[in-house]
């Protein structure tokens, strides 16, 4: 469903007062293929390039070279209008649920906004959109009484549910989950992870789950890739990666996982 082929992203260097900084290669030759209906985990530490990759996939940035194809269509070749239409099909949930909701909009406006933007393709009237918003809230475990509140009235876990509802509004085929539970407490994280697993099973979604937390990846993903300094260093089924890591980096990371285990 999503093919990333040999993608490289280089940020140009800067002229500085005390010398120039060299160009930064955030991604070099990254290739991944994600099949429909699977849950693909991407693990990386800070500065590994995982955020740059998500931005390239969403076309918030253009890769320096390489191709990203979604359903066989190359993003770089799409017209702005076609790109906007494509955006209905691939959605994202960001890490920080406090920053990713516009504080001045009500939950209703937040969740219906994608439907307003894509009303031409979806063909939903105002009343139908409101009804669908209520449905979506129900889907993520919130109630219709929450529709007309503002983001600041919700806890972190609830906000993340609102973000998920917004992501699902246009019935996307694929959802990018960019560290969706990193800002949450463990007990809340478990609920959100279960919700995501449940939604995937019910709606047949494809996930690209990005995280630095190996435990979370192991729990939700079918296949896993490790990214390190802009390169994919390991890729395989989650089981294989965790049980028989091939690269030194993977072995080191797995050994460093803080687990509740006494042996």
């Amino acid at each position: 469903m999503l093919e990333i082929e040999n993608v490289t992203k280089v940020y140009p260097g800067r002229q500085g007062m005390f010398g120039a900084s060299p160009p930064v290669t955030a991604l070099s030759g990254v290739s991944l293929a994600i099949a429909a209906g699977e849950s693909f985990g991407l693990v990386g530490e800070s500065g590994s390039g995982k955020t740059t990759l998500t931005r390239c996939i969403l076309r918030l940035e253009a890769p320096t070279s390489g191709h990203i194809r979604f359903d066989g269509e190359d993003f770089a070749r799409l017209t702005p209008v076609a790109l906007r239409a494509m955006r209905a099909r691939i959605q994202i949930v960001f890490q920080d649920p406090f920053a990713s909701l516009n504080p001045r909009m009500s939950v209703h406006d937040i969740v219906t906004e994608p439907m307003v933007i894509h009303r031409a393709t979806l063909g939903l009237g105002a009343r139908q959109r409101s009804a669908r918003a209520a449905e979506l809230l129900d889907l993520v475990g919130l109630g219709p009484q929450h529709l007309h509140r503002h983001p600041h009235e919700f806890s972190g876990g609830q906000r993340q549910r609102i973000c998920i509802a917004r992501a699902l509004a246009c019935q996307p085929a694929m959802v990018l989950l960019d560290e969706p539970t990193s800002a949450l407490d463990v007990s809340v994280q478990a609920q959100v992870l279960n919700l995501l697993a449940d939604l995937q099973a019910r709606l047949g979604l494809t996930y690209l789950f990005i995280s630095h937390d190996l435990g979370v990846i192991r729990y939700v993903c079918d296949r896993t890739a490790l990214i390190w300094r802009g390169q994919i260093v390991e890729e395989g089924t989650t089981e294989r990666v965790f049980d028989a890591p091939a690269s030194d980096y993977a072995r080191m990371l797995i050994a460093a996982m803080p687990e509740v285990r006494f042996d």
Binding site: R84, S100, S106, R149
Partner: protein, 291 residues
């Protein structure tokens, strides 16, 4: 369900009002501003000697010291200084408002376009406003006012011309900051058009700092208007403008000090009021200033 919205908004407002009221200085500022605005509206009618406001003179009663009949004394033409000061309020407030509103409208437009479009549009617009920051504002205003000729409207235009870059920079900075917000990235990711992002996600979130700057700027605008009057490039007598009054009467110091001191004090009180109010508003509206 509208009740929920109302209560959330209401609570935020109540908190703000609470913070505002807690500060005695903000309340004093609000009171002064209300008084100044009231005088600006009714000033010419409550002036004890309306004839003097219109330019009438009473040379028999020149330079009377402050008394019950003339609390602020009389000037070199025998005009009642209190009446002139009261009538001058309207001129100053109107001119100040004009400058701030013009500057805000134009500056916000330029800043929003520059910040949102980026690229060369941004470069050109910002270099233009840099240029303006480099040319001393007062000198520019003086030059423009002198070239346009005396008159209230010309003066307002002249000052506003040097006023917009402040707003342009503020709005541009805020727009750039808001553009980096995750919720804007989220809006782009769902395919929102640039116009939608600007009007729905960016601009509503920068209203507060602009309002705060406007209220803080009212004082400075009044000050600048008076400055031009004082130099003699502005409203000409007999229109009773505070700065002009001061500039005429300074030659009668020290013996007839009241002719200069009272217009000056009026100026100070009005500016002080707007500054106190703006400062208080900033504490309430601008979350970064809350401490």
């Amino acid at each position: 369900m509208t009740h929920a919205v109302a209560s959330a908004r209401g609570q935020a407002l109540r908190r703000g009002w609470f913070r505002f009221r807690q500060s005695g200085l903000s309340m004093l500022g609000a009171a002064l501003v209300v008084a100044v605005l009231a005088i600006a509206i009714v000033g010419p009618w409550i002036a004890p000697f309306p004839g003097h406001v219109a330019g009438g003179v009473d040379t028999a009663n020149r330079f009377l010291a402050p008394s019950l009949a003339h609390p602020f004394g009389t000037n070199e033409l025998g005009q009642d200084v209190l009446s002139l000061v009261l009538a001058g309020t309207r001129i100053s407030v109107l001119a100040g408002l004009g400058v701030v509103v013009l500057g805000t409208l134009f500056g916000t437009l330029v800043g929003a376009v520059a910040g949102f479009a980026g690229g060369w549009t941004d470069e050109v617009l910002m270099r233009l406003s840099d240029l303006k920051l480099t040319i001393p504002g007062l000198i520019l205003a003086m030059a423009v006012a002198a070239a346009l000729g005396a008159g209230l409207l010309n003066m307002v235009i002249a000052i506003a011309l040097s006023w917009w870059p402040g707003y342009a920079r503020l709005v541009r900075g805020e727009v750039l900051a808001r553009k980096e917000e995750v919720y804007v990235a989220a809006a782009r990711a769902i395919g929102a058009s640039p116009a939608r992002i600007l009007f729905r996600h960016v601009l509503p979130n920068i209203v507060s700092p602009v309002v705060v700057k406007m209220s803080l700027d009212m004082g400075f605008a009044i000050l600048t208007v008076a400055s031009l009057g004082f130099i003699g490039i502005g409203v000409r007598p007999p229109t009773p403008e505070w700065g002009t009054l001061l500039s005429v009467s300074r030659s009668y110091m020290p013996d007839f000090w009241w002719t200069a001191v009272f217009p000056g004090l009026a100026m100070f009180v009005a500016i002080f009021g707007f500054n106190l109010l703006g400062d208080g508003l900033r504490d309430v509206l601008d979350p970064r200033a809350r401490r």
